[in-house]
Amino acid sequence: MKIDPITFAVVKNGLDSIADEMAYTVVRTARSEIVKDVMDFSAALCAADGQMVAQAKTIAQHLGAIPEAMESVLTAFADDLHDGDVVIMNDPYHGGMHLPDIFMFMPIFHDGVRRAFAVVICHHTDVGGRVPGSNASDSTEIYQEGLRMPPLKLYEQGRINRTLEKMIRINVRVPDRVLGDLAAQYAAAQVGRRGLEKLMQRYGADELEAYMQELLDYAERLTRQEILTWPRGTWRFTDHIDSDGFSDTPIPISVAITVRDDGTLAVDYAGSSPQVRGALNSTLSFTRSLTYLSVRCVLAKDIPNNVGLFRCVDVTAPEASILNPAMPGACAARALTGYRVFDAMLGALAQIVPDKVPAAGEGGNSVICISGLRPNREPFIIVDMICGAWGGRPDKDGLEAVTNASQNLSNMPVEVMEAEHPVRIEEYAFVTDSCGAGLYRGGVGIRRTYRILAPEALLQMRTDRVRFAPYGLAGGSPGGTSNNYMEVAGERRPLPGKITTSIRQDTVIVHEQAGAGGFGDPLERPPEAVLEDHLEGKISRDYAERFHAVVLTAAGALDRDATAALRAARGRARPVATAA
């Protein structure tokens, strides 16, 4: 079949926009804030053989896990998939990621032949287990983390499977939200099906399939072409997670990237920590996903993110390691490990394509989970995710108040949270002086302060970068570390990065996220830019002097002479620009 360029463009963008429409449907029909406001969900379309061809602009981390999840669905049901079937699955050891992420697959048929799949993944508020939110970092076995589901049919030829539905209902703490969000996934999959049916009517089912395959080949061609322009060799980088919360032992994530002659990469995680006791273990599907997306971030923007790109990256990780755990390793907090995989990958890629990689960002969203009972005994669960800051870049400053680039999370509006839950937010603001200094500075971190209005509650925090600050690049300073506090009756005490504890009414919890690393020599940052940062309240006078050797007056003006003298004294005299 001849590939017509206009049809190819229409099909390519048509698939993307169907996926976006699916995602939009999830937002509109979901019941929980983590889906409808924080947007922790994904939508994608796969070809009949399960290869992912298009995705919505949602959570990047989820997407690379789809091939393995699809494989497990196809293995489980082989020829037993029919029109009207819907399969769900959440088990990390069946291609899932962690139990709260429930995958949904809807096979799409045309004239009785399976042509594609619609896939929707949502992070559910709770899937049972020992703690509300099913997201604790201190579980030690997956059996503690909630209801495990291998690929199972939620719908059989259009009829809902009541047994499975009842099983879910009785195992989770907020069944209406969970079943409501599953309905949202179902609605989105229907939208995907209708969109694809339209495309098949317009262009023909065989033709559509051919264009889907061409889309994969096209992505592979472009990816190889670009990798061929990189230097050959092997580059290594190691970053750390503070600890798993059980011991103080730092957890190394080590990567070696080999650029091969055929335009592919070999990525190996030898040297990374063995499997840990806590819930930070990342199954290989998730490790792969983060690897693919790290590579994607340094490629040209117009390469489609699909299986064609994934074909160019081989991923290996030692058995029973934190990046390829064995049963029954706990996985609930694996997202944090994913973020560190992303940081380590970028650290290595910075050596291969140094003009494309920023210094380290905040290190991943923090998860603040507050749960308990309202006065009327109804349970509530808040799963709040705090983002984020980007490191200084090779040609410009980093960003603040932005999703981690490996995600595309949003934030929960304060007013929405307060309207739905017994909590009051007392501050949501930037943390002064938390940026890593550099010629191009990192973004500052964010502080969020919660006052508990329920009689009592359970607090679970999963934060990191309390000990290991986000790295700087090319002489830039690391970002500021993360800090947590608890205030009871006006008395403030620090909290560790990972904690599960009971708290009482009127307790105040403060979380400060890490700031991002700087890029380049801080002494080369123009004094005017340093002054501007100060006027904007992002840095103090003390910071300006300490990191940039820039002297500011109490009135907030630049002292040029003192700055020149100080910079000279630091052994790196630089002309101070004279223009105001």
């Binding site: 206009i6 229409v10 963008n13 048509g14 993307d16 926009s17 429409e21 939009y24 937002v27 509109r28 029909t29 979901a30 019941r31 409808k36 602009k57 990047a60 209406d176 939200r177 409501g180 309905a183 179902y186 609605a187 229907q190 939208v191 099906r193 317009r202 997306l293 971030c297 340094v298 923007k301 993110n305 990689v357 983002c387 870049r393 410009k396 960003l399 108040a401 999703t403 680039a405 595309n408 999370l409 949003s410 934030n411 509006p413 304060v414 007013e415 929405v416 307060e418 009051r424 007392e426 501050e427 949501y428 603001a429 930037f430 964010i446 302060t449 006027l535 904007e536 309240g537 992002k538």
Partner: protein, 697 residues
């Protein structure tokens, strides 16, 4: 017969573009007259007043007989684009001054480490906090620190701040602190422009509300100044009629309302043409249309589906290609106001062509505008523009534009292209001119792609409705590039944005936030709510001067299943709760493909009040007044393709076309516009007077 009479009511619609100011005037006998003059960017109202006075004089009409002035303005969008708004400050609840800058965190594209987040319109140093706190249920947790409000206001004014936005947490539940703070500031600092979030957007979600309020404050000064000047000027020439301004969603509002809420008119400019195209499409029986509007400075594309322009309830204003996406956010300044979904690129007749550092031919977004205009105007610009290329190639009249009003000089076009492009690139002038057109066409195709291909719509299934001064000159190329079979150029296409306004309604919207479960409501409650919002729009229509029999009010209800984040809108008539539930269930199934049995909540109730304007333009029986400038009988040489010899093309007026298709090549030249029919196409005129070009596949 003399045109109109001294006492007959006439209606004037004016659209200000970056290059020309277009005027359409409807007289009592249903005739539409038109005029076009150069815009006056230093004070856009000047061209409006001069142009209107001139046209009235030409037609011998008494200015006192003008019953309505309708206006589309780019003041809002230009003010943001040029960052020329008031120096704006923001006062927030203690602990929340960064809400504006934090935004919603997401990025518009995944995997893009080079993304630049737009800088907030109010820098952090001008965002001040005061102690006050309203709880989510509307109760007061911390009383307002009134002294702090005044102190913050004074501190901001001392920094040169001209306008202040107030946005407190949970003010959508209880506006008392915002209202008090606004009153305090007005009292303490007379003349200060103040706008509070509860008055602009009384809805939950602090970022969306704050951002919209800040944009409103940012625009207050410019919009008020402009509309006051316009009003004074119109009164000065004897027009006492009320001024109506086109809003971003294609309705009309009194100028006074826009002075308070300029944020509603940020995308005012292009809306008139879109509404006109939708109404014209309906009149032709063509309900699915790509609207393509090419003026002097930019080109815009919009999709009309089933007779309605695609709309968006919130959009982000940004530089460059400005497409709203219902899903991806964070590219620009969030405005949570209803608007037509428009894609725009900086390619118009005045777009300047040049060679970039890499030796590549580039066109726009820089524009020569109206003054000095294209090189052929001879008014001081010697750099070549898209119009110059069209003059050189023969697509547009080589001696005059706008019906002979604007003399041009082809030799100047040739000189500009030779000097700045042909010589440096080693091409001959005709080849360089073709290059300019090719690049401009590619840019414009991008706008059309943004609303079709990129959203999975095949442009080949749609009709291209082209207007604007240059729409008919480029439409055939664009259609061919995208595989679109039919191009329709409406009558009065050069001033079509103004004509569209004549076909639009005054529209007032009143909304009540309800948030009640349907199964716990009584019919009487629903009826009372309807009465409340209806009374509100009714009063506003009455204030606009609409008699009771000229007011039409319809209701819409926004519903959702309990716990969801967004609503579906269904029409509401009467107070039958059962029927409302059924309608919602049907709409829900249609939209999402499954039945949900959980409780349904009525979130909002809306009354839409339309002021039925006397003699609103109906395209089905529009009468176009003849206008000098329609040529005919002549011919000129046109170069359709690079490297091919120029062909001699007959020039005709629109009246020379009949219902029987006539083969190209042909050029239809009129007062306001030129329509090019290439050699492999046919052209005919439909019953309404549209020029229809069918392009061979």
């Amino acid at each position: 017969m003399p045109e109109g009479g001294a006492t007959a009511a006439s209606k004037v619609a004016v659209d200000i573009g970056g290059t020309f100011t277009d005027i359409a005037l409807a007289t009592a006998d249903g005739r539409i007259h038109q005029s076009k003059i150069s815009s006056t960017p230093d004070d856009p109202s000047r061209a409006v007043i001069e142009g209107v006075a001139q046209l009235l004089a030409e037609l011998g009409l008494d200015p006192a007989g003008v019953s309505e002035v309708m206006h589309g303005t780019t003041v809002g969008s230009n003010t943001i684009l040029q960052r020329a708004g008031a120096r704006t400050g923001l006062i927030t609840t203690k602990g929340f001054r960064d809400v504006l800058e934090i935004g919603r965190i997401r990025m518009p594209d995944m995997f893009d480490l080079t993304w630049e987040k737009p800088k907030p319109l109010v820098p952090r140093r001008h965002r001040l906090e005061v102690a006050e706190r309203i709880a989510a249920d509307g109760s007061i947790v911390t009383p307002l620190d009134e002294a702090a409000v005044v102190a913050a206001g004074r501190a901001l004014v001392a920094e040169g701040i001209e306008a202040i936005a107030i946005a407190f947490l949970n003010s959508y539940r209880n506006p008392v602190h915002e209202q008090r703070a606004e009153a305090l500031l007005r009292e303490a600092i007379p003349g200060l422009l103040v706008t509070s979030s509860c008055a602009v957007l009384p809805e939950i979600k602090e970022y969306e509300r704050t951002s919209t309020t800040v944009v409103n404050a940012y625009l207050l000064a410019a919009m008020q100044r402009y509309l006051q000047r316009l009003e004074t000027g119109l009164r000065g020439i004897g027009i006492a009629a009320p001024i109506l301004v086109m809003t971003s969603n294609g309705g009309m509002l009194a100028a006074k309302a826009i002075c308070e809420k300029p944020v509603l008119a940020v995308a005012s400019g292009p809306a008139g043409g879109v509404i006109g195209a939708a109404r014209l499409g309906e009149a032709r029986g063509d309900r699915d249309v790509i609207v393509f509007d090419m003026g002097g400075t930019t080109a815009k594309a919009v999709i009309v589906e089933d007779g309605r322009p695609t709309m968006t309830s919130e959009y982000e204003f940004r530089d460059g290609i400005s497409t709203s996406s219902r899903f991806v956010k964070a590219g620009g300044y969030m405005l949570k106001v209803p608007a037509i979904d428009i894609a725009e690129v900086g390619a118009g007749g005045g777009s300047i062509a040049g060679i970039d550092k890499g030796g590549l031919l580039v066109v726009g977004p820089q524009s020569a505008g109206a003054v000095p205009g294209p090189a052929c105007y001879g008014l001081g610009n010697d750099r070549p523009t898209v119009t110059d290329a069209n003059v050189v190639l023969g697509f547009i009249n080589p001696s005059s534009l706008a019906g002979g009003r604007l003399g041009i000089d082809k030799a100047l076009s040739e000189k500009a292209i030779a000097q700045h492009l042909a010589h440096p690139l080693g091409l001959d002038v005709a080849d360089a001119a073709h290059g300019i057109r090719a690049v401009a066409n590619a840019n414009m195709a991008r706008a059309v792609r943004a609303v079709t291909v990129e959203r999975g719509r095949d442009p080949r299934d749609l009709t291209l409705m082209a207007f604007g001064g240059n729409g008919g000159v480029h439409a055939f190329d664009l259609a061919r590039q995208l595989g679109i079979p039919t191009v329709v150029v409406p009558p009065l296409s050069g001033v079509f944005c103004s004509v569209g306004m004549l076909a639009s309604d005054v529209e007032h919207i009143a909304m009540a936030t309800v948030v009640r479960r349907l199964d716990r409501m009584e019919a009487a409650e629903l009826a009372a709510l309807q009465k409340g919002v209806a009374g509100e729009v009714d009063a506003r229509l009455a204030a606009d001067g609409y008699r009771p029999d000229r007011r039409a009010i319809v209701f819409e209800a926004e519903l959702r299943h309990e716990g969801q984040a967004s609503e579906l809108t269904v029409p509401l008539d009467g107070d039958d709760l059962e029927r409302l539930h059924e309608r919602f269930a049907a709409e829900y199934f249609k939209t999402y493909g499954y039945h949900d049995t959980t409780p349904v909540e009525l979130m909002k109730l809306r009354a839409i009040g339309r002021g039925l304007r006397d003699n609103r333009l109906d395209f089905a029986d529009m009468k176009v007044a003849p206008r000098a400038g329609s040529s005919g009988g002549a011919s000129r040489a046109v170069s359709f393709a690079r490297g091919e010899p120029a062909v001699t093309v007959p020039i005709v007026g629109r009246d020379a076309l009949g219902s029987v298709p006539r083969p190209g090549p042909l050029i239809v030249e009129e007062f306001d516009a030129t329509v090019v029919v290439p050699p492999d196409a046919t052209v005919h005129c439909d019953a309404i007077g549209c020029i229809v070009v069918e392009i061979a596949a």
